[in-house]
Each structure stands twice: as structure tokens, then as C-alpha cells.
Symmetry: C2
Subunit: 231 residues, 2 copies
């Protein structure tokens, strides 16, 4: 036993990262665009997914991976009823998905017949931020009733995201949510990120989110064509 055995955490993360690279390569080869949706419990991840399926399927062929800490199929059943293939990962109490879990789940999805894979992570603002999955984009769903101070309190997850959906804007009149304070907190941590205010309940603002998804799926497919014509 030498000193090189000591930094175990670093090794675990590296192992996860290298699995994530393999997973992204599987997505790329299949021409699939993949997103990792993270949020607090109850911010509206499943609602965003259901609205996305309703608006874009079957024009876009969508598959969903549901992460849950317990063997409950509430969200997975909703997605299945929406008519798209779904795989559930029960983390067995663990507080986040990792690349190994996602890699195994993907074997249950028909990747070659999909355009978009949506991964719903465990509801948690802390742990999921530390684990790459191999998806192309990280999406955070925040919600108005959670309060405008969340970027300041959970900075790590806001730093690592590509899109921020601010859900439940229909509750703005009934809360003290300060949009400027929230946006300023996000901007300090992540100046490039787009904030998309939406209400999954009323449908307000969802078109911006849907346009972003469609654009990214088209880009991913154009990469496959380019790669295909070069090879």
C-alpha cells in the first residue's frame, strides 16, 4: 500500500467522468441530444418533461430516464402515459444519479430510434451538481415559491448549468419573489446562462424552452451528418 492509494474521492470522480465521456459518445453516435434536468423536489421537472413531450412528440422521438430515490413509479407512469419510452433508475436512497447508473439505464432505451433523451435527476440542489452524466446540457428548473435567494444559497448547481427554467411564474402575484435579485444572483455565478421564465400550469413562456430544445436537437443531428459525410 503506497501513498498513491490515498485520494480515493478523486479516483471515484475520475471513474465517473470517464464513464460520462463514454455515454456522451453513445449519444453522439446515435445522433441523440441528451439533457440532464435537475431541481429541488417539487420545482416542476416532471411537468417540464410532460409539456415537452406534449408539444414535440412524435415529431421529435423522445426517450426519458427517471431518477428516483425510492421504487415509486409516479413520475415514470406519467411519462409512459404520455406515450414515450421511459426507464426508471431507483438509486436505492442515493441522492443523485451518476454516469454508471445512466449508462446502464440507456441499454433499455432504443437510442438509434430517438432524437432526444431527457434525464430527470433526483430532486436535490446539492449532490447532482457534482456528478457528470454524459448528457450534452444541464438544465435547472427553479420555481418561484422556492424564493429568490436560491442562487446565493446553492451556488454550485447554478454554476454548472446551460439553461435555467424559472417555473411557476403564475404564482408571482402571490409571493414576494424579486426577479431582479434572483437574476442578479444567477448572473454573478453564470453570466452566459439563459433564464427562461415559464409556467407549466398555464403554458406561459414554454415556447422559448421548446425552441431551444429543437435548435439543439437539429444541431446535434447536423453534427452526425457532417461526421457521417467525412467518414
Amino acid at each position: 500500500m503506497t501513498e498513491t492509494n490515498i485520494p480515493i474521492i478523486e479516483n471515484i470522480l475520475s471513474a465517473n467522468d470517464s464513464l460520462a465521456v463514454q455515454t456522451q459518445s453513445r449519444f453522439d453516435q446515435a445522433g441523440v441530444f441528451a439533457i440532464n434536468i435537475m431541481a429541488s423536489p417539487g420545482a416542476g421537472k416532471t411537468s417540464v418533461i410532460l409539456q415537452t413531450i406534449q408539444a414535440l412528440s412524435p415529431q421529435l422521438r423522445i426517450g426519458v430516464v427517471e431518477g428516483d430515490t425510492a421504487p415509486v413509479t409516479i413520475d415514470a407512469n406519467k411519462v409512459k402515459q404520455a406515450g414515450v419510452p421511459v426507464v426508471q433508475i431507483n438509486t436505492g436512497g442515493s441522492c443523485h444519479l451518476d454516469a454508471s447508473m445512466l449508462g446502464q439505464a440507456l441499454s433499455q432505451l432504443p437510442l438509434d430510434r430517438l432524437d432526444l433523451v431527457i434525464v430527470e435527476n433526483v430532486g436535490n440542489l446539492v449532490c447532482p451538481a457534482a456528478f457528470k452524466l454524459g448528457t450534452h446540457a444541464n438544465v435547472l428548473v427553479s420555481s418561484v415559491p422556492e424564493g429568490d435567494d436560491k442562487p446565493y444559497k446553492y451556488p454550485r448547481i447554478y454554476r454548472g448549468i446551460d439553461v435555467l427554467i424559472l417555473n411557476k411564474t403564475d404564482l408571482l402575484p402571490y409571493t414576494e419573489f424579486n426577479t431582479d435579485y434572483f437574476s442578479k444572483g444567477v448572473e454573478i455565478l453564470n453570466p452566459q446562462v439563459s433564464i427562461l421564465p415559464v409556467s407549466c400550469r398555464t403554458g406561459d413562456g414554454l415556447h422559448l424552452w421548446l425552441e431551444w430544445i429543437v435548435k439543439r436537437v437539429q444541431f446535434q443531428q447536423s453534427q452526425l451528418t457532417t461526421h457521417g459525410s467525412n467518414s
Copy 2:
């Protein structure tokens, strides 16, 4: 190195549990009643604490321990401004408090001059459920906009609690929250737990929570008196 070194997780938890027993003994010797408040981010832990201070201090001498994953003092400052001693624990990104962190923080509080210690855990429905702190009661703050399915999705944390505050009842008219479905989910997991519907925003229902706190503080102090007269 023998096989007995293998079950590391079990040993870590036992170490935490034995520290928790020591901490509870410190509380008991000082006649202090201590609670561990857990919740999703934004469910209203800090609001419950501020309402409790406003209603019960200085008749009850209250101290607060604030758990945060980042070195932000938003909540700690609010508590300090409310006029009671507060210690902040920055977990350095970790997703929960543990007995060691709390034990160290308590050295910064004047336990002998307090009646009630409120510990605000990290906002997270998964990880805090697994770590005893040495407090006398676990309190969960759920909130209406999080949705009525949370007991079904995060069963472990609902199993281990003594009181459940359902906050933000002022938002009931603007959501599809089904109180019966929520209560049924809680009852399956934890038939004994009291559900206290409150609105920290309007003050509705808070009297039940405050009565529970006062009763438990009085009981804890009566134990000290009994113990004192026997020794």
C-alpha cells in the same frame, strides 16, 4: 488488515450515532430542548424559525444553528437580526449536517443560558434523513407548492420525523395540492406524526406549532428538575 475492516459505511454511521448520543446528553444536562428542522430548499425552514423567535423570545431563550452548503450568511443574518445567538455551519458543499458538525457548533452557543436550540439543516429531502444529530425531535417543513406527492417520492425523511409542518397554505387556492392524498401518504409512512398546516406568510395555524414547542421545552425542563432532585 483483516476482513473486519470492510464495512466502512457501517462504522462511519456508528461513529456519527455515538457522537449524537453525546450531543443529546449535553442538551439534557443543560435542560435544553433541541430540534432538527429539515426541508427542501425554499420550503420555509428559516421563516418557521423567525416566526418562532418572534412569538416565543425572550420568554424562551432560543439559540439557532444554521447549516449551509456555502459560506453565505443570508439566513444567519436574519436570525441574528431577530436578536438571538446564532452559529453558522458551512458544510463546504456537503449535503447534510452530521453529529460532529453540530457538536463543534454547540461550543459557540451559551447552552446553559438557553431553553431551546433550533438546528436548520441543509435544504435537502434525501441526505439529512440518514444522519442523527443528537437533537430531541426531527421536524420536516413541507410546502404546498412542492406538491402533494412528496411523501411517496421521499419516504425515508417522512418516516423519521416527529412533527410535520405543511407550510404555504396561503397558496392552496392557486395550486392543485390535494391535502387528502398528501396526508394519506404521510400516514402510511408515519401514522403517529402530527401534520400542522401553517402559513408563515399570514401566520395562520402557527399557534399549534408554538404550543407543541412550548410543551416540549417544559417537559425537557421538568426532566432536569426531576433528575436534579434525585441526584
